[in-house]
Subunit: 283 residues, 4 copies
């Protein structure tokens, strides 16, 4: 506790670091870690993540935010946010029938590896209820058919609106409408079961096998209205061979998917991901 | 020496292994290694690579081949080839201006890592002559422009025809015509500077950066008339981050390219790659 | 079903493959996959794994085994075993307090990734009972103290003797006595929480951090009476940095441990591991 | 050009970042990248690397250093150094007979991948002269036998003293005496052909094979008087199997060795490595 994290994005220019660190110092904060990145040495965008220790952060946060807004952010045209590391992000996990990503997230959260407070799991099937409830988490079954999609999305919105800071699609096989994404107003993280941008679309493992690829991969990304095109947070691959038939590829893929999604969620939950210009910077 | 390698492809069915191993045994060969693969348990294709030790192989090879053709291959409708491990494959390397794949192949060949006898290097530029000639290998400068392409390909054909068992494109930035490929009549191995099938085409590293991918890759494949679509032999990736600008991605890419190409060439030279149904099986 | 696997180890010499494949062929079996390995071209040991399809295997197995013993194995001084792929291995999992390896094995078994029939979980603590029982698997609490070790091992033996084909130590923090290992008479697989042979002993992550290593690893091996020295089945590593303190290293280690153990168990369950001369050959 | 790099190590405490960035800002520098690390939140050591852009750095450097020493470093008890990125480090490479690490370093330097100015290569054999001289680099043959070691080290010292900023042991099979190390007074980087701390000593690949390990590795480290125990800069591994005999392991090892050494040298040359408490922090 008493650890804060500051994320900053602004046009690059001289004196930004000095201004940020000076203000934090003046308020009694001690900087423990700071990562910065400029998209270009001339006229680029400056991105920064600062982790600091400030006794009494919870009480002093509003005051610090006001000072930062007035005395630093305004001068440098900053987009910024300040996070209290003691408050885990409230999360909902959406899932269909496959359990590997869901169980890995729940287990890691229980372990303390993810700074999450998982409030609910929502699925368009009832299959995984018995796996979720022992974790003490509510399980909501919201079936979706083409006909009922608007009503189902309305139900989703009621469950999630104002209740969560992030939504995680852990092999949720429904496409969220642009309207729903907009009304949710929080980041939505998806795991795509292939190495984007290769094998966009359905049945990537069958595509990969037909092409004879020697690696299969997975991609975690923020969801945007354009399918499979949101900013990539993390990717990884595993080696396969001709001996791996499609079920074997799918099994290998499950390992990569759960690992990649867990890493992406961990980074998001630790305020390490800044979206910029259609891609991400992980600091 | 006295080590032979037999590659077999045929419709699957009972008794193939017994027939092959029985004939080799009857001729005094001792099987040291055997790898087999069936594309499906029912009605598939059977692929096999056998490494055997046969004293006096060089003298007895023609006899063995005749016997194999008559008594085994015909019964099982086999496509097959028999290789003497003591005879390295005669190779030509084609290159443009980038030296990393070329030099790595020459270093590895000199060190004995690749079962190659590199007879010549051909380039459409003269830049790399001074790097190649110290290896005692002929360097041929065959410029190509859109106008002179037919004559240049004719010159390539004169240099290569009957002289080589394999052609390696080590960052050769010209497209070989289907006509030339056919008249060469030997396998052509290419290194593609991206993780196929993603980023087909030019400037894959700029594409990758724009997309924010977290891994860059390379693909070694046999060349077919259809660009970037030949059977994949090997692929690999390396991790990158937002800190890597396009030149940095290219530098990382060079490492992957030379490693992937060297592995593919090593496997081809060791008769480990069987092409089947548009993909490869590496045994 | 109707898929058999034959594991063979014998002194190398001519005609082994022909004899094995000939006998299988004569009994109507079709060889789907065969992997062989000779430890040396002269006077070495020959190791072989054959996967075959034989209609009615369950009924014909005893007959086939008898024929193989008499007509092939005796001539070549073989150590061999024949397995019916339709019969998953009966397994016990021993665990102490850490759940990551245990849960991963249970999830994978339920999903059909491991050819196991997990009959029971035994622990020297009662902590994980609530995680295990929802899988429908018996949980036995067998406490062990230095004073009660003989009685506790006797209790273990009663639970396991004749009931299992393999015992898996999934972070079981007790050392099995040589006497118990011998009386169990089945393979015991352990996951060691470091990259053997480095960091033998306790607190490997603290050791690794003090030494500033850039990778942490895990090792799955068969248990022998000599601690940490049994034949290695599988190993892997993950990248770490100075930013990872000991708890972070342990978290990274958990991922490697469960993955390495699951791979080793999968290979063992699929009859792919042959122990030879203090090490393993994975075919 | 005009890019500087500042490395700082000091007892942790409030206001360090503000002081450093404030001074740089006051001198007209723009911070492009900054990485910090505290060994502990309470009473730890603070490490920092700052990359900044300062027009006219070469002319203004002495002035900046004086100001930094007086107004920042003294207050915080800092160990620090300031580097001009436009001045590559002067390097000597020491090698015995194996060429893979040497050639890779020379080729990468020529490519512009390493911020090095390689002034000379020294070897206890004359074998690699013909590979080095085409790069336009002096090759010195300094034979060493047990009897001539003091004289040979004296000759080494004459060649290197005051001429280089770093010495790279690229598979140099002689042990440098503690006396020589001290008199050289510059960092010495070594590539150790195994995954330290496993397989300390000679013939690590034969040791690895006997133990049946599934990965082989290499370690780049700073040389200290205690053999194989200096601070680790980088490590990596590659997967191997029972099919890899000792020569094959050595070939795989060469790839890892050259890659790991090149990475360690690149980081050192880019002022990214800070030694602290017997280990390294790579920022």
């Amino acid at each position: 506790s008493d650890v804060g994290r500051l994320l900053v994005r602004c046009p690059d220019g001289p004196g930004i670091v000095a201004a940020v660190s000076g203000l934090l110092h003046a308020h009694g904060a001690n900087i423990a870690q700071s990562d910065q990145y400029s998209t270009s040495l001339e006229g680029g965008t400056f991105l920064m993540r600062v982790v600091f220790h400030l006794p009494g952060l919870a009480q002093r946060r509003a005051h610090l935010e006001r000072a930062f807004a007035e005395r630093v952010a305004a001068d440098h045209d900053m987009t910024w946010s300040l996070h209290d590391a003691a408050r885990p992000k409230r999360a909902a996990i959406l899932v269909s029938r496959e359990d590997h990503c869901l169980l890995d997230l729940l287990w890691r959260t229980r372990r303390g590896e993810l700074e999450l407070d998982v409030g609910l799991v929502v699925s368009n099937h009832d299959d995984l209820r018995r796996d979720v409830e022992p974790f003490g988490i509510d399980y909501h079954h919201v079936p979706i058919t083409p006909d009922t999609k608007p009503a189902a999305e309305q139900r989703l919105l009621e469950l999630l609106d104002g209740q969560v800071d992030v939504v995680i699609l852990a092999r949720y096989m429904q496409i969220l409408s642009g309207d729903l994404l907009e009304r949710l107003g929080v980041p939505v993280i998806n795991i795509h079961h292939s190495f984007l941008p290769a094998f966009v679309g359905a049945q990537p493992y069958a595509q990969a096998r037909a092409r004879g690829v020697k690696l299969v991969g997975a991609t975690a990304h923020y969801v945007t209205e354009e399918l499979d095109a949101g900013p990539i947070i993390e990717q990884d691959v595993a080696r396969v061979s001709h001996r791996d038939d499609v079920p074997a590829l799918i099994a290998v893929g499950r390992d990569i998917e759960r690992t990649v999604l867990a890493r992406a969620v961990a980074w998001h939950a630790a305020d390490r991901v800044i979206v910029h210009d259609g891609t991400t910077v992980v600091l």
